[in-house]
Amino acid sequence: MKFTDVISPFLAWSRAAKKVDTIPYPNQQNPGADRYRGFHINDTSKCIGCGRCEVICENKAIDMVKVDGVEPTKGDSGLRPKVDYGRCCWCALCIDVCSTGSLSLTNKYSWVTENPDTCVYTPGVDQKAWDSEEKGFRQENDVLGWAGSPREQMEIETPEKRIENFDEVVKGYTVDQAMEEAARCIQCGLCISACPAHMHIPDYLKAIAEGRFVDAVKLFYDNNPLPEMCGKVCTRECETVCAMGYQGESIAIRWLKRFACEQFESLADVLALEAQPGEPNGKKVAVVGAGPSGLSAAYYLSRKGYEVHVYDRLEKGGGVSWYAIPEYRLPADGITKQMEVFEQTGVIFNYGRDITAELLADMENRFDAVYLAVGLQKPSDARIKGEDIPEVKPAFDFLMNSPDKGEMLTGKKVIVIGGGNVAMDTARTCVRLGADVVLSYRRRVQDMPADDEEIHEAMEETIDFRPKTIPIRIERTESGIRYLYHEAKMVDNPKGGRPLPKPKDDVEHAVDADILFSAIGQTSDIEFIPESMQKEMKLKWGRIIVNDNQYTGYKNFFAGGDITPGEGDAITAIADGLRAVKGIIDRLK
């Protein structure tokens, strides 16, 4: 043993004269670090109650519960997370996956209690000492990307190529892409409330993610007998509320629906067991109009055992939305594929029948119930001076008559007035037919009612957008027509709502053209309904007012689709059909 070894430990005494490490008041002086994972806070106004935190919690510490003052709305389940601190392990997985980023942890760490039953609380609802704490563990989605991710990109034809023909613009997902895209779904179900038909979206996304495409199609047919059409042209309310859309991109629900349907040559074969007429119950129902609403009512009634007769003035089923939507968005072969299912279900179609008052009166006698789903027939008046010139045509009629098989418009100049989907369809069809297109719309581009995607694609296709243009009149010239307009500025609407366009100055701008299509909407035409019936029904602005079950109030007459007030899109029409089925079943009991 060395002597130094005996002495050396005593040198530690020198510490006695140095600064101590002790923290005098640890619990007051030592706050958690800026990123400390302490107790939960939740911005309840930002939270949408998707339940992602509950699913990711490995300790089952988070329960989604109803709280006072938060009502379920579209895109918000009304539930809020309640955290059990007898389970929580401060791992903060719930923070990193929170789809809106509303949930965070504070840097407060001290909570002592005598009563173990008090350790459960709903952050943001129950008052806690750390509610206003600013520091703590916050989501950093740009680092991790757990709360929202980008969408699988689908191949899209280039604008240069696609204006040459009427082939579909989007190419659809490959199987791998679709399964990956569907796997992004977090199964929160917020989309169910947004979808007018309340389709089983999380279920079929899961089926697609797992590669069970047959199951997915069967799930579509639970509340939507036109999935392929919806897969291509639906207004996709569901995607607007998707929880994944807050910090990433919403799931491509529409494209996935389309993908699942396109996996099969024949939908009727897939549904060989499902789409069969039900046990006949001896009752007969007439459906007027073979559009989405009429078809959906017909399909489910037939499966319930009713004898269903569908009447339509056109030669094929599918309705105007089908015919009027151009090939590049909705190819016609899909129609036949979907119509086969209806035939297999036993629906009897009567095509080419003009709907008249006599026919309706006849139906009243022959059928137990009638469902009116005639849609909107008449183009709205543009109320512009000179709209009676023959070169000024309703866009809707133009689209209805298969323009892709009609004459080319090569070298001609076309003006389209309007900002809705019909205007976009017309403009883009004309471009494909070789014309030079000017699109005139009263308000700004962001005010256009058409789908953003449509507008974006139309802009790429050499269409000359002229937003904020107020039409004055249309004149006839030697070679064609001249369209005159004022440039507009936007002023605030005193009644609220969208800003109004007002002429900026008196300068009249002019465009010369060969044809002008007015695409400013359709109105209803209810002249076919006998006056005696009209008196019994409640009408407003030419539309039929119905109750929750689509009942008109007149005998066993039901109505739905665009003839009743509403959103005016296909999926709402389908939902009307579903409700009508329920109404009819209840009424005929």
């Binding site: 109650g49 998707c50 339940g51 509950e54 089952k60 329960d63 989604m64 519960v65 109803k66 379920p72 389940s77 009304g78 539930l79 309640k82 059990d84 007898g86 173990p116 039953d117 459960v120 199964q187 929160c188 179900g189 917020l190 169910i192 409330s193 309340h198 089983h200 999380p202 279920d203 639970d222 509340n223 489910y300 009634l301 499966r303 319930k304 579903l578 089925v581 329920k582 079943i585």
Partner: protein, 187 residues
Amino acid sequence: MIDKVKKELEIRFPLLKLVREQHNYLHVKVERVSAMDAIVMAKTTLGFTTLQLISTIDRLEEDVFQITWILENYDLCTILLISSNYPRENCIVPSLSQIWPTASAFEREIFEMFGISFPGNPREGEDFLLEDWKDTPPMRRDFETEEYSMRVYGERQPREHLDPRQYIGDIVGEWNTPMGRKREEEK
């Protein structure tokens, strides 16, 4: 190095299946009858003198236990995994406790956790991690730990569980469609 090991093992055990191969890592699957031979050969002639771990996987759907011996060549830091399947019913696996002193503890644990017997291990049956366990061996796939925990230990308060998906669906009547497919049937 690994190439040589692989070659020699393949010559000796033609039915051997290769699972994974890296520059210092080899995983092979052998027949049950040749498992012990392979291990002894690895130790005596191939230089894998250290037993790292004995691991068991309960492959319930195939009705077998997969036993994996993880051996190591200590000097070269090279890993050799030898796997073999044993039938699940009354599973008996030869003990390595005579060859490696460390094997005994691993085997005692497996006996406790899976109920696999290692005849030849002098300390088999001694309590290791558990004390007086009477239920199904806990690591078996058919043992439901949450159910056991709730039954035996209970919880302070039951969960008030509302699944947003179901809750929304019920509010808007998602399943209330004309065809009325029941959620239960779906699941």
